[in-house]
């Protein structure tokens, strides 16, 4: 019993296949191909943009090209501030795998206690922790060499200030985001910062850049700023100031050195100062740029200005006789007095001896308006036009509100206030043949053009008086230098405390110029509260002036205009005979 059918005789083979079946298959395959073609067309033509974008998202990256912050240079091109790489160390706490020894080594390299490090790495729920920002490059390399998993570095830059505390107040500093916070860093932040660029690249699986796509936006590098500061002059100014402040047991002090032909600021030093790289535990005392931000009553340093304006108005001549006896003068219920009774003085003598009574008598020949206008022309009561943040205006009241006694006290520097910078700047009118010239922090080589305030002859006459004041018989003898003729005026101002004047707190001033016949520099010195007993401007501030002038002129290559011998001669004579 067999139900099997032989293949050859299978009835199924006998039946003829219908044609539609093969056509159906062909149609089916054709349809499938049409589908593929359609899809391909969709991807390549209609949806192209979308797919391209999606592709790019997966392998193209935009890299930021950071711009380097510009450097700050002194007038000779020496670096005052520059950015150096300082990688920041960060970690993903839960990924960190390190042996105890490795962690200890890491803590040692970072100069932080191991406990602190462990605490930072202990925060398991965080996915990002800064361990330390801006470490030095060599340290970062050593940390990299440790090869701890989960510890990463981010490239950052930090500012370095090789000159340290000497120029701290001028240059200022930046914050951790590399933005200027103080000084030149703040004023010129925009120029220094530059502009970051970017580029589009394709990265491979290993994160290597394999191709550039699209346009590259080049970064605009920050500009270098060249200051008018001479770092050597700056150093000497700082050094002499520091030594003087310490020796006089003073609270603080400032020095300003101006080039009297170009108006450039050659040095601007303050003490106490700070190291800009290490800004922990800074006090306002250290941070303050006193020369520009603190205003005081300038005291006797104002007298040459009083005399100059009276000369200019034609009320006096250098040889006009002024009666200062008996050394006291009553005005509006106040008594203004001199330290000695100088009797009859010439105008020159008034400056030389620094007679208050003489100065007020000269001022009385002027109207308040005339005085006020001269003060304004010399920059008092106005914000100094200088590229620096925080410069203050000082105070000169409108002349209409002056009482006679105020007009008298202003003649010798009380009742109005100015910063040391304003004070030194106003002396450019004497040094620059009667012109007050604009001051600048940036290097310039052309002689400045100023506004004529006094005539050249009167400026010359005042210079002669300043020279007498700094010569034997004057109040500022200690301002003399070896080799260079100097002229200047000392000032000793009682400090204002509350509503009145403190009897035992002083500010010592000295402002002057050298060489006196054709001044090259103006130096202003202020010592705040000298408390070793030597509080007179001629004793506390004049020696600083002398040393700064001597060093600066020598450095500038100015030929000595005085024979060097005389001073040595006098001493040699004393010793040898």
């Amino acid at each position: 019993m067999s139900r099997s059918v032989l293949y050859s005789s299978s009835p199924l083979l006998a039946s003829k296949t219908p044609v539609w079946r093969s056509k159906f298959i062909v149609a089916g395959v054709a349809l499938a191909f049409a589908g593929l073609a359609g899809r391909a067309a969709y991807i390549q033509i209609f949806g192209n943009e979308f797919f391209q974008r999606q592709g790019e998202v997966r392998f193209a990256r935009t890299l930021e090209l950071p711009a380097n912050r510009g450097r700050i240079l002194d007038r000779n091109g020496l670096i005052l501030a520059s950015s150096v790489p300082a990688p920041s160390i960060w970690a993903i706490p839960e990924d960190v795998e390190a042996s105890k020894a490795q962690l200890a080594e890491l803590a040692r390299l970072l100069e932080m206690p191991l406990a602190d490090l462990n605490k930072k790495l202990g925060e398991e729920d965080k996915t990002f922790v800064w361990i330390k920002r801006q470490v030095d490059e060599p340290v970062a390399q050593k940390i990299h060499a440790l090869g701890i998993k989960g510890i990463y570095q981010r490239k950052e830059y930090k500012r370095q200030y090789p000159e340290g505390e000497t120029v701290a107040h001028v240059v200022g500093f930046t914050n951790v985001e590399d933005r200027g916070q103080e000084g030149i860093e703040l004023t010129f932040n925009k120029d220094l910062a530059g502009k970051a660029g970017s580029r589009r690249v394709i990265k491979d699986r290993l994160g290597r850049v394999v191709e550039d796509v699209g346009e590259q936006v080049h970064p605009v590098e920050g500009k270098d700023i060249q200051l008018s500061i001479d770092s050597k002059v700056q150093f000497f100014a700082y050094q002499k100031l520091r030594d003087a402040v310490i020796a006089r047991k003073a609270k603080a002090g400032s020095v300003v050195v101006l080039d009297s032909t170009t108006g450039e600021v050659l040095a601007l030093a303050n003490y106490p100062s700070y190291v800009p790289d290490k800004r922990k535990n800074l006090t306002g005392e250290q941070l303050r740029n006193r020369a520009l931000t603190d205003t005081f009553e300038p005291g006797s340093t104002m007298k040459p200005i009083t005399v100059a304006m009276a000369l200019e108005a034609g009320r006096i001549k250098p040889q006009t006789i002024i009666e200062t006896g008996p050394g006291r003068y009553n005005i509006g219920g106040f008594t203004i007095s001199d330290t000695h009774n100088y009797g009859t003085l010439t105008v020159e003598g008034v400056i030389q001896k620094s007679s208050n009574v003489g100065a007020l008598k000269i001022a009385q020949k002027m109207s308040p308006q005339e005085m006020w206008e001269t003060y304004m022309a010399l920059g008092y009561g106005q914000k100094p036009q200088i590229q620096f943040p925080g410069a203050v205006t000082g105070r000169v009241r409108p002349w209409k509100t002056w009482r006679p006694v105020e007009q008298a006290t202003m003649a010798y520097g009380y009742g109005l206030s100015a910063s040391l910078f304003q004070m030194a700047h106003s002396y450019t009118a004497f040094a620059h043949d009667g012109q007050i010239i604009p001051a600048t922090m940036l290097k310039s080589s052309e002689p400045a053009v100023g506004v004529q305030v006094f005539s050249a002859e009167n400026a010359h006459a005042v210079r002669r008086m300043l020279q007498m004041a700094a010569a034997p018989g004057g109040t500022g003898q200690l301002a003399q230098t070896v080799g260079y003729s100097v002229g200047g005026k000392s000032g000793t101002a009682h400090k204002q405390v509350g509503k009145g004047y403190a009897t035992n707190k002083y500010r010592a001033w000295f402002t002057g110029m050298a060489p006196i016949e054709a001044p090259r520099i103006i130096v202003g010195v202020m010592i705040d509260e000298p408390s070793d007993g030597n509080y007179f401007g001629g004793v506390a501030a004049a020696p600083v002036f002398s040393e700064v002038v001597q060093q600066t002129l020598r450095m500038m290559g100015v030929q000595p205009d005085m024979s060097v011998k005389p001073q040595i001669t006098t001493q040699a004579v004393e010793e040898s005979f």
Partner: protein, 102 residues
């Protein structure tokens, strides 16, 4: 005809493989270029850093500190000048004190 097709097919294959190779080579070279550029940036910034360090070591303040502390030097003042005079001719007194103004 068939032979020509075969030749063309081989040519296409060879060209395709060559293209792959070139592409690979170009990417490899690009990576190297990138590396070199990064190296150059690093060297540049190292240079900058070292210049700053060099300057920091040579600032007057640093020199002064070293001179005072390590070399025990003092600032000169006219007070510590030693005057040398000849026995019969005090040379210094000879010349007129020109320029010494009152």
């Amino acid at each position: 005809m068939a032979r020509l097709n075969l030749v063309l097919l081989l040519a296409v294959l060879a060209s395709a493989l060559y293209l792959v190779r070139t592409q690979y080579e170009s990417r490899r070279l690009y990576v190297e270029l990138e590396k070199a550029a990064a190296e150059s940036r690093k060297i540049e910034s190292d240079n900058e850093r070292l210049q700053v360090e060099k300057r920091a070591q040579a600032t007057p303040l640093k020199v002064e500190k070293l001179a005072k502390e390590r070399l025990q030097m003092r600032t000169v003042t006219p007070a510590i000048t030693q005057y040398v005079t000849y026995k019969d001719e005090p040379a210094a007194a000879a010349s007129a004190p020109e320029g010494a103004k009152p």
